[in-house]
């Protein structure tokens, strides 16, 4: 029995997974691609534990994969389970939970390499935790307030003596008035904030860090792949996600102490992949804004030539160990 298959869990259309699969295929690595959204209508799942670890199979519309053959799992963007429409809403909730813990639990229990294990991704997405882990790893972060009290925000800004920004803690996209809306990082004046609105939930307020440029650093299995991002627009300089057309990318190197800090960060979180965002100050200091454990990177591979597919293939096959 050859335990050498990389299981790629992602949706049907995922060009990011495509380039990794191409790299793995070029190396002769067996790859099995499945979408959990095929379960249970187009995928069958069986697993058994006979005292020596989980075994079983995924039988999708295009392939059947023996779990015993899986040496690594690339957990990208699987779609959600799709249940028969005849299920009632209540039974769909029940079926969802049974599938999440049954299918997901067996996969999570497999003794194999993960990029990234979804349990670790979920934990690593919590920004307050990111800030504290960054501190312990020697990565500077902006001074931060999380509060539902607007007066606290006012006093926080006064203590800093400079501008502050507000950003969302989660990645929920609002659906309102027939449109989708996202919350980018915005400079705000706390004295103008409605206390009622601010008190509706907690808010993340951070000091505005003066920036010469920003950097996106993709770390994969210890390999550090950095690109500097410059923007020609005011909006892009506050949050580069808000104005992609204004951006220019330059391959760069992270300072050694920052690179080491990111490796420690991933070790602390149990991740083998992380997309770090940094501000580079006019003095050249690197300030970490966040680490996205499931960040996108394909455009950086295309534009800046970062060898991320090869780094992922190294990690998935154990070549990076």
């Amino acid at each position: 029995m050859a335990r050498d298959t990389v299981l790629v869990l992602t949706g049907a259309k995922d060009p990011t997974a495509d380039v990794v699969i191409e790299e793995l295929a070029r190396r002769g690595v067996p790859v099995a691609r499945h979408d959990l959204g095929d379960f249970p209508t187009r995928m069958r799942f069986s697993a058994w534990h006979m005292g020596d670890g989980w075994a079983g199979r995924l039988s999708g519309p295009d392939a059947t994969t023996d779990l015993q053959d899986v040496s690594a799992i690339y957990y990208r963007r699987p779609s959600n389970f799709r249940f028969p429409p005849e299920l009632s809403a209540g039974d769909r909730v029940y079926a969802q939970e049974e599938a999440r813990i049954g299918v997901g639990g067996v996969l999570a229990a497999l003794d194999c390499r993960w990029v990234n294990h979804p349990h670790r991704v979920a934990r690593a997405e919590w920004k307050p935790l990111q800030i504290e882990i960054a501190r312990t790893c020697g990565l500077p972060t902006p001074r931060t307030l999380i509060s539902d009290d607007s007066q606290e925000a006012i006093e926080f800004a006064e203590r800093l003596g400079g501008p502050v920004v507000c950003k969302s803690l989660s990645s929920v996209v609002l659906a309102e008035e027939g449109q989708h809306k996202v919350v980018y990082t915005r400079r705000v004046d706390p004295t103008t904030i409605s206390p009622r609105d601010f008190g509706a939930t907690v808010h993340l307020i951070q000091e505005w860090v003066p920036k010469r440029r920003e950097a996106r650093v993709t770390v994969v299995g210890g390999q550090v792949l950095a690109v500097a991002i410059d923007s020609d627009s005011d909006a892009g300089r506050v949050d580069w996600r808000s104005d992609y057309d204004s951006l220019r990318y330059t391959s760069t190197d992270a300072p050694p102490e920052i690179a080491d800090g990111m490796r420690r960060y991933l070790a602390c979180t149990g991740l083998s992949f992380g997309a770090f965002d940094f501000v580079i100050t006019p003095d050249g200091e690197w300030i970490m804004l966040e680490c996205n454990p499931a960040g996108q990177w394909l455009w950086l591979h295309h534009i800046a030539g970062l060898a991320i597919p090869a780094a992922l293939a190294d990690t998935l096959t154990g070549a990076a160990a």
């Binding site: 299918v103 996209v173 919350v183």
Partner: protein
Amino acid sequence: VPDPLMPSAALLPLCDSPGGGRFALHHEPGSVRPYSATLGVVPVRLGKHDTTATKWDEQKTTETSADGQEDPDTVTIRHTDT
């Protein structure tokens, strides 16, 4: 839930509903809303950065039960990341 295996909401402490929490997303904002939500803007065209996997729509069933009567509804939620 956007992720089949580990919906982030499932990590919330004291979450008492199956599936990891209940979201009350509405198309029409109320008179009071989270301040950060008021900063939301329609995203710019992503152009060459827009890969298929960066966003997907989810039809999410919502339920309100202010008076004990459950009122099912459906909203479209778009998930993205960076």
